[in-house]
């Protein structure tokens, strides 16, 4: 799992049947350096498409689950269907606040 | 499973229950071209008392949990994803 910011939406009509009803957001992962500073991430060199069941909006920070964890996320909210969801990234939390100091614990 | 060399140890007191009494060793993964060639280091749970500098075999994921408690169905919650599975006496 890692932190990212929602920067866009994806709409797709022609898709795998199990994906109907799922909303997809474009999420840009936060690097450790960006987590330390408060200003928004500048250039976007990496984006992940994640399934969203919590209703996150553009500009919000989210926690992304990846791989098996993403399918586990769907299991809870769409019981029994998770095994068939071809999804490898899902939003599992919409962040109210995060407080990160990359230098935490350094001997000063 | 991969071969490695025990290069260190980690001591913990505040820990999850599944770890009690077991040691955590640092194992440097050994590539084909010699000791610690790959630069990769893993934290492995040690139930075989492998001494420092010892050549060992390490197993991952469900294999590691089977080292601690065989039987895959009831050890999923065991917090361990890497364990020493053999103290290597010899290789050929």
């Amino acid at each position: 799992m890692f932190l990212g910011r929602v920067i866009g939406n994806v709409w797709a009509t022609k898709k795998w049947p199990e994906l109907s009803g799922l909303k997809f957001l474009v999420v840009r992962p936060h690097t450790l350096a960006e987590l330390g500073r408060s200003e928004p991430p500048q250039q976007c060199d990496d984006a992940v498409i994640a399934a969203d069941l919590l209703g996150a909006c553009i500009g919000e920070d989210v926690v992304l689950a990846y791989g098996h964890a993403a399918r586990a996320a769907l299991e809870e909210l769409a019981p029994g269907a998770a095994a068939r969801h071809p999804v490898d990234a899902a939003i599992v939390a919409i962040v109210d606040r995060f407080d990160v100091d990359p230098e935490a614990g350094e001997e000063v | 499973m991969i071969r490695g060399t025990v290069i260190g140890e980690v001591w913990v007191t505040k820990k999850a229950p599944s770890l009690d009494g077991r040691k955590l060793k640092l194992v440097a993964v050994r590539g084909a071209s010699g000791a610690a060639a790959s630069g990769r280091v893993v934290v492995a749970m040690d139930t075989l008392d492998a001494p420092m500098g010892q050549a060992v075999m390490v197993t991952f994921g469900s294999g590691a949990r089977n080292v601690l408690r065989p039987g895959a169905s009831e050890n999923r919650d065991l917090l361990c994803d890497c364990a020493i599975s053999q103290v290597i006496d010899g290789e050929s």
């Binding site: - | 991969i2 080292v67 039987g71």
Partner: protein, 106 residues
């Protein structure tokens, strides 16, 4: 599954109980590299060996120098052995010959 070359074995008195009676083989995964222009068949020289060494359990009695097929994962282990074995890589075939389309590799 991947192709690999057997380079040896390792043994030890102190080991996990689930390893009882298992023969362990050290294998190096094969890495295909593009061969020179004009070559029509891949020869052994074109199959480089990764620096990584994997230890796989062997049921077929493969010896050093032989090329084998290695399968990994708990699903395969549960089928080939049983779910209490502390292993994740197994030799499931000894390769007689492999035919690889040179074009795809180049």
């Amino acid at each position: 599954m991947y192709l690999a070359k057997v380079i040896g074995t390792n043994w030890g008195a102190k080991q996990a109980a689930g390893l009882e009676g298992l023969k362990l083989l050290q294998v190096r995964p094969v890495v295909l590299r593009a061969s020179e222009a004009g070559a029509t068949r891949l020869t052994e020289q074109d199959c480089a060996l990764s620096d990584q060494v994997i230890v796989a359990a062997d049921t077929l009695g493969a010896g050093p120098g032989e090329y084998v097929l290695v399968a990994t994962g708990s699903r395969v282990r549960d089928v080939v052995y049983d779910s209490s074995r502390p292993i994740k890589a197994m030799v499931v075939a000894i390769v007689d010959s492999a035919d690889i389309d040179v074009g795809v590799v180049r």
